[in-house]
Amino acid sequence: MSRDLYDLIGLVAAICFILALKGLSHPKSARRGNLIGAAGATIATLVVFFYGDSLPLKNLPLILGAIVLGLIIGVPAARKVQLTQMPQLVALFNGVGGGAAALVAIVEYLKLGEEAAKGGGAIGAAVLIATIFTVVVGTTSFTGSIITFLKLQELMTTRPVIFPGGRFIIAGNLVAILVCSGWVYSAADTTSVLVLMALSAIFGVLFVLPVGGADVPIVISLLNAFTGLTVAASGYVLEATLLIVAGTLVGASGTILTRLMAEAMGRSLFGTLFGAFTATATTVGEADARPVKSGSAEDVAILLNYARRVVIVPGFGLAVAQAQHTVRELADLMSAKGIDVAYGIHPVAGRMPGHMNVLLAEANVPYDQLVEMDEINPTFPQTDVSIIIGANDVVNPAAKTTPGCPIYGMPILDVQQSGNIIFLKRSMRPGFAGIENELLYDPKTTLLFGDAKASLTKVVSALKAL
């Protein structure tokens, strides 16, 4: 295959990626957009087997074997994952992509080093810089994504991890990366690049550790954009136009997306990222033994039965309990009784923006019942009952009243303005961000403890009996 034909097919794949991102930005075309992207990636992968100086490609059986191995690992993971665990799987996929980009850059660097040693010609400065960038950022993205995975999977604490002198350790680490980059630039040998990789791996860990609970999705999005840029830089080293286009598209759109996500949460991107440098150990509201009002499923059913308008606020607990079908049953039952029912969807309820929409759509909840935060907030004063199911931080008034708390400034659902508040909670444990919620002690609040699905089932049968 000629270079021209190869590049032309690459252009087709690049157009597919642009259309994919465009499609993914609108609900109606999102699924098609993803399929177009997959088609582009398939074309790009197939065509590389037919381009080269000597066909078939050298090491072909091993290459095919490695692809099959990747398929065996990746496809079942993607198909079997629970809805609740999708965010961390995306984080993991992003991390391995970053790792792959770093490895590609290292191999190409070793190869260029060998050629330079043989032929005497030095490696171009731009290529060296692109290589160093890819190794540093790709490896950072790899280890950083693994930490976000561990946080979301709750295999480690979801709180910000802040250790004394952290900012100096990070600064020292960055200086070491810069010095080592200079070494790689001048030495062009294997040891230097491996040391650089190790330093970057440490940086990835240090970078993500101080990020707390609710900010983790923003960091995943940012690392995703990083990985895109490393792919673009690898494309520069390999002179592969398609990689430059695809990587840059992801880098640019990922940056915008990260900003949009941060805005939706009322966070400054800067504050999220450099929290490590400014953070002091925040005082977490002390879990005091003030009285709370807990009720039975029957109490809740009675409150609901005589309400005219009910707003359901779903959160991560709904996803964990897989209670989306039960909550729909409850909503249908209330609608049948002539009660006006709506779902108040906080943009970052759950572990990821849009998490709740995906979950409730699975239970075939009608679109028009899902109301976004800006639209539902003015209606709370006319709402008789708000049911909060497994959510906490997104209704926590501390976001408005307590400057300095980790979620301060995040827009919340104003459930405290409704007539009655019902919390379905597993326990008094604070939410993902680890902040005490004053609303739990509000006289208007009734708590129903237990697994969301079990509690909802009880409420449904109690309501049917009324």
Binding site: F17, I18, L21, K22, P27, R31, N34, G37, A41, T45, G52, K58, N59, L62, I63, G65, A66, L69, L71, I73, G74, V75, A77, A78, V90, F93, N94, V96, G97, A100, A101, V104, V107, L110, K111, G124, G228, T230, V231, S234, G235, Y236, A240, T241, L242, I244, V245, G247, L249, G251, G254, T255, L257, L260, P347, V348, M352, P353, G354, N357
Partner: protein, 105 residues
């Protein structure tokens, strides 16, 4: 135009396209969009295949094969998981959930 400059021009133009293409997105689609973009950078697989086919010693070959495995997971897994997320958005006709369809080949 030198080849290096041509590549940089492509880079700069792609930055603008990337900014434009996602300027307005409802928060509902933030996660699927991130996941889809994540799958797209899996095309590093192409780069991994190229370096693997040029490798002539064990170290280079091992590293590049590892890169192929990781990149394949990123790309294929990414598209499949995005499709699963978006499956929830499809227009509802039958209440019975349809069979999970395959995103990629």
């Amino acid at each position: 135009m030198s080849s290096g400059l041509a590549l940089i021009s492509i880079f700069v133009l792609a930055v603008f396209v990337g900014f434009e293409v996602v300027s307005k997105v409802s928060s509902t689609l933030h996660t699927p969009l991130m996941s889809g973009a994540n799958a797209i950078h899996g095309v590093i697989l192409v780069g991994a295949i190229i370096v693997a086919s040029h490798s002539d010693n064990t170290l280079q070959l091992t590293l590049s094969l590892l890169a192929i495995v990781l990149a394949t997971i990123n790309m294929v897994g990414g598209f499949v998981v995005t499709d699963r997320m978006l499956e929830m958005f499809k227009p509802k006709k039958a209440p019975a959930p349809s069979d999970t369809s395959d995103g990629v080949k």
